[in-house]
């Protein structure tokens, strides 16, 4: 087939991009070459709209071993141990085919982690669905949860935490972000940079089929009515093969035969081979007849663009082929020498003895387009003036019931009970806590991790929202007693060619960056997902932040469950009573405007560090950060977790009980302390200039507000845990 501009446009390239390709090559590319360009130059692989802004991110820190640019980021957790982690989106495939889309999202992120030599030790996920009233939501939720579980459970890696949101902006475009943490010896990390010429290039794992061809291009396209037709571009996952691949790769990595290794993710063999060669400033020669195929008569074009799962590309030391092959034979996996590194700096493909493609690698990698897209600043919305009449018609106990059983607040136990969260025998904080925590096997250390997003805040004011998500991740780690170390981000946005969406992206990044710098909480890995829009309607800007922290002695793990009755409950940090953009304003008052809660980074850092100090002194019995739903929801969750009650003292300062209990002012924590420790706690808080209020005291079962027993913990638990089960039954 003769290539022309129309074919190029069908491949997702813009006419001027096609022209640039022809100019660079000084000729018209053939179809295989065009396919390769379209894969490498599309948004998903080239980050052409985001690169300029991603460069600004704070990526350095004392504990950062590897920042963005590799398969995953790596941080130092002491004693030669390092944690490899990353989050990645699989949004479009999951909307088209929820089970396989979500499953292969989990498979892909785990491969990114074990490619670096790390054994995966924990999975997390952040999933966003449309309104609970939307006709597709239930099936999508069921499918995604089954897919995530189906893959992670089979591999035997615990899913320790996650986040689920419902909002109508995701009606036509759900989000599935999967995150994995792996453990590696910091002296035995593997990278994707090839080195040396005439080194054998090895293909291992599953055979190549026709699934997922153009998956990367599909990820960068806007959805329309014909979306169902895209089903064949969704890859099919095989967790069993991935488990074998994991074990085989780790076995091969125990000696020194690997020079570089890269998983075949988006754009499969194309991007993996080009990335390894590009990073090593080398050429690469591949003989495509040698690629193990599971279907007959596959063309070079199909082989290069297939996104069949569970495959890896390895550059080996010369002479190690036989010993490496033995390992893959043992695990019953394909192993084929398909080419070698060269000094041509070109990618050269052969098929049936003919040269079928020859392109300088720098054209594909360095010369990929980079755009400075126009963007629009979002103005800070005016504060809403709530009037007393807004509150008068409300009944406090009804509000509590409505809030605690709200889909975005209620327990997600229906979801996480379908994930194996205890396999590997090191999960010490299960899902449902502020962060998931796993022990570093065989040591005293434990790693905490959480994943967060706040799309409503980001939509109202992207810069503040961006800061808030980073702070939320920080707080979640602090709440389990972990020292926050670093983050990974998954940036889910609409169409970057629209200046409003591009503006949301730019300003969220600026916000993330500011908080990340201030908190010394660098970004070490991440992924961008644009074009999350259907029929012209974009999603709310949804940067998802995965945080990782360290607990030096796992015996000091902190949890949110109230421990015993008669203890004092304190709110750390100041309550101002802002209701704008709170769940309360949204759900109870139906007020969706206004600015998100302000972020004061000084207080954020100071309050968090002081809470860690208290935990170190073993003063709090339980800790929980205040987030969605404010103090009331925070305190009730602590009651539910501990199966206890609370008596709220009469609140001071603020005039309105709703503002006091439901404001989502930032930088706050609720802690439980024994009465006779109050003095000690008070003196530490005062010394560090941290504001606190006495909220109440723990009771046996009753939840007492204004001296009136309002609910029992059993009743509140029923509201909290019941909603999702009912919805899904």
């Amino acid at each position: 087939m003769e290539v022309n501009e129309k074919i190029a446009v069908d491949h997702g390239l813009k006419p001027d991009e096609y022209k640039k390709i022809c100019d660079l090559l000084k000729r018209v590319p053939n179809l295989t070459e065009l396919g390769i360009f379209s894969a490498m130059w599309n948004e998903h692989c080239s980050y052409k709209s985001s690169r300029l802004h991603l460069k600004k991110l704070n990526t350095k820190g004392k504990k950062v071993i590897q920042g963005p640019g590799e398969n995953a980021g790596v941080i130092d957790i002491g004693d030669d141990d390092a944690i490899v982690f990353k989050i990645e989106s699989h949004n479009h495939p999951s909307f088209i085919e929820p089970y396989q889309g979500a499953a292969t999202g989990v498979g892909g992120i785990m491969r990114d982690v074990f490619t670096m030599g790390a054994r995966p030790i924990a999975n997390l996920n952040s999933i966003h669905f449309g309104s609970t009233q939307h006709k597709k939501t239930k099936n999508l939720l069921r499918g995604v949860v089954k897919g995530i579980g189906g893959y992670g459970n089979c591999i035997g890696v615990p899913t320790i935490a996650g986040q689920t949101c419902f909002d109508q902006s995701y009606n036509g475009n759900i989000l599935v972000n999967a995150m994995t943490l792996g453990l590696v010896n910091k002296n035995k990390i593997f990278y994707s940079k090839a080195a040396g010429i005439n080194k054998p290039v090895i293909y291992v794992g599953s055979k190549t089929g026709r699934d997922g061809i153009h998956g990367a291009s599909m990820a960068s396209a806007i959805f329309d009515d014909k979306i169902e037709e895209k089903k064949p571009t969704v890859q099919v996952g095989d967790p069993f093969t991935e488990k074998l691949l994991l074990e085989a790769c780790l076995e091969l990595m125990s000696d020194k035969s690997i020079i570089a290794i890269q998983d075949m993710g988006a754009a499969g063999l194309t991007s993996s081979s080009i990335e390894m060669a590009s990073k090593g400033n080398l050429g690469i020669e591949l003989h495509l007849d040698k690629v193990p195929c599971r279907e007959e008569k596959m063309t070079p074009y199909e082989i290069m663009l297939s996104e069949s799962q569970e495959r890896m590309l390895i550059v080996l030391e010369n002479g190690k082929e036989d010993s490496a092959k033995k390992i893959f034979d043992k695990w019953n996996l394909d192993f084929a020498v398909i080419g070698k590194t060269t000094n041509t700096k070109n990618i050269e493909l052969y098929f049936e003895k003919e040269k079928v493609a020859n392109v300088p690698i720098k054209f594909l990698a360095n010369e990929a387009p980079m755009y400075d897209r126009p963007w629009k600043k979002t103005k800070l919305p005016q504060k809403i003036k709530f009037s007393n009449s807004d509150f008068k018609k409300l009944k406090f106990s009804d509000v509590i019931k409505k809030m605690i059983s709200n889909p975005n607040v209620c327990s997600k136990q229906w979801i996480w009970e379908q994930y194996d969260h205890t396999v590997m025998g090191d999960t010490i904080q299960k899902p449902g806590g502020d962060a998931g925590v796993v022990r570093v096997h065989g040591t005293k250390k434990a790693v905490a991790s959480s994943v967060d997003s706040s799309a409503s805040y980001c939509y109202a004011h992207p810069f503040t929202g961006g800061k808030q998500v980073v702070c939320e991740a920080w707080r979640n780690l602090v709440s389990v007693g972990a020292e926050p170390i670093a983050i990974t981000n998954c940036l889910n946005f609409g169409n970057p060619e629209k200046k409003e969406n591009m503006g949301e992206f730019v300003e969220c990044i600026d916000g993330i960056n500011e908080a990340s710098k201030y908190l010394n909480f660098p970004v070490v890995s991440g992924n961008v997902s644009f074009y999350n829009e259907t029929k012209d309607k974009g999603i709310k800007p949804t940067p998802t932040i995965g945080g990782v922290g360290l607990i030096k002695d796992y015996k000091n793990l902190m949890s949110m469950s109230f421990k015993s009755k008669g203890n004092l409950v304190l709110v750390i940090g100041k309550t101002e009573g802002n209701l704008d953009q709170s769940i309360f304003a949204n759900v109870i008052l139906d007020e969706k405007k206004g600015p998100p809660p302000e972020i004061n980074l000084f207080n954020e850092k100071n309050n968090g560090e002081t809470v860690l100090k208290l935990i170190k002194e073993k003063l709090p019995l339980s800790v929980h950060d205040v987030s969605l739903g404010g103090i009331m929801i925070g305190a009730l969750k602590m009651c539910i977790a501990g199966n206890m009650g609370i008596k709220f003292y009469k609140f001071k300062n603020l005039t309105n009980i709703y503002q006091y209990f439901f404001s989502e002012d930032q930088g706050r924590y609720i802690i439980e302390v024994e009465k006779n420790n109050l003095k000690k706690v008070e003196s530490i808080l005062k010394k560090n200039s941290v504001h606190f209020d006495l909220l109440g005291e723990t009771t046996d079962k009753e939840i007492i507000i204004n001296n009136e027993p309002t609910f029992t913990v059993d009743k509140v638990t029923e509201f909290y845990k019941g909603w999702l089960y009912k919805y899904m039954s």
Binding site: K146, G149, G150, N153, C154, I155, G156, D238, P239, F240, T241, K243, L244, W331, N332, W416, E417, Q418, Y419, D420, H421, T422, V423, M424, G425, D426, T427, I428, K430, R439, Y554, K555, L557
Partner: protein, 227 residues
């Protein structure tokens, strides 16, 4: 005491079982599914996981794997065999244990703590155990035990039911049945009671920091009974 844990491709609780056995004093060896013979052992364990991907029927391919004949010979000569979760499924596939494990009644994977009432008479696994209601952990998609009426009768007549799902105070009722298993059966023995298959994972409950510690009671007692 010597134990061996068999690793099938797709096993994923093999390490957890190894850790647990060693913690309570077993000298444990890991055995690859393609090996010809078993090391000298007092206890063989088939661990949890997804052997061979469990794509056909859970445990069916593992039930025909190379090492399995040695396990059958070992069991038939009276050796102690323990199958947990996928291991239980494999044991039913080999015919060493009766019945089958169907998909959970709610067609969902379930991962949570449950209680089981254990049978502590005439068997090396639970005899002399301190508690007869243990809090253990399940994590499975196919744990819904089923057998024919005749088989059930002979299991009951022979005292072969090893564990029932129950409430925290030992009541065996529908409410405490997590997966729809017939008669709340969580585990069974063979006739001679030297083979135990059960869905709950004691190896995930061996430490105060984990979901609980009743798994420790199980392993400590087992070791004592073997000495």
């Amino acid at each position: 005491m010597n134990s061996s844990v068999i690793i099938f491709p797709g096993s994923n609780c093999d390490r957890d079982m190894d850790v647990a056995l060693k913690k309570f004093g077993f000298k444990n060896k890991m055995v690859w599914h393609n090996d010809d013979e078993l090391p000298k052992s007092d206890l063989i364990v088939l661990p949890g996981g997804f052997s061979y991907g469990d794509y056909l029927r859970c445990g069916s391919i593992a039930g025909k794997s190379k090492i399995i004949q040695s396990v059958i010979d070992f069991a038939n000569s009276g050796g102690l065999v323990l199958g947990i979760c996928n291991g239980f499924q494999i044991l039913t596939e080999t015919g060493l244990l009766k019945g089958v494990l169907q998909q959970n009644k709610n067609i969902e994977f379930i991962c949570k703590n449950i209680f089981v009432k254990v049978n502590n008479s005439e068997n090396k696994f639970f005899e002399n155990i301190d508690k007869d209601v243990l809090e253990l952990h399940i994590a499975h998609n196919e744990g819904n035990y089923f057998c024919t009426e005749d088989e059930l009768k002979s299991l009951e007549d022979n005292n072969q039911i090893a564990a029932y799902y129950c409430s925290s105070d030992g009541k065996v009722d529908d409410k405490s049945n997590p997966n729809g298993a017939i008669k709340n059966i969580a585990g069974i023995f063979n006739e001679k009671k030297n083979i135990l298959g059960m869905m709950p994972h004691p190896e995930r409950m061996i430490d105060q920091s984990l979901s609980g510690e009743d798994g420790s009671i199980f392993f400590e007692n087992l070791l004592k009974n073997l000495k």
